[in-house]
Amino acid sequence: AQSVTQLDSQVPVFEEAPVELRCNYSSSVSVYLFWYVQYPNQGLQLLLKYLSGSTLVESINGFEAEFNKSQTSFHLRKPSVHISDTAEYFCAVSEGGSNYKLTFGKGTLLTVNP
């Protein structure tokens, strides 16, 4: 069975500061990894994904995550955050195949303060 651990339930930072949201997973098979973002009163939006290939993946709004197989981690980073990045961030894992059933972490609430 898979599991995902997001160690930080809340991360407050100041605008333009760097941020790292941590995610560790456990699985007995190869996995696909995802970060989803949930802005207030909205649904879950795919932020970025690792399926194969380069272990460093990037989103269009400056976030990146690196798949580290030896540490079973997929931490999310951004070098300089904006107030508009305030949201809940969910790490998720899938065993792949055609059924992308996801197992989610508990989420990390990122609050960016001015």
Binding site: L44, K49, N99, Y100
Partner: protein, 111 residues
Amino acid sequence: EPEVTQTPSHQVTQMGQEVILRCVPISNHLYFYWYRQILGQKVEFLVSFYNNEISEKSEIFDDQFSVERPDGSNFTLKIRSTKLEDSAMYFCASSEGGPLHFGNGTRLTVT
């Protein structure tokens, strides 16, 4: 960009009543899912649906739950006799065989 749409956004019902949560997946998608998130807890998998049948379901998805694709566009989740602990945000998702696309959710409150 195509979206998964869910209605209603908020549903209040009394314990023991039946509710139907509705979803319109993205039109060319073939895989459909329901997840739920109890306040303060993880987003949990309920069920996946493909080729007009359930492909996988979790322990949560007991006999009180059912899913249906009544026509070519809707995908519904029915809870037959709601309990207080069914109060949660319910998310529908669809996929064409890749990453999931989620709707905005229906907040179900059972009183």
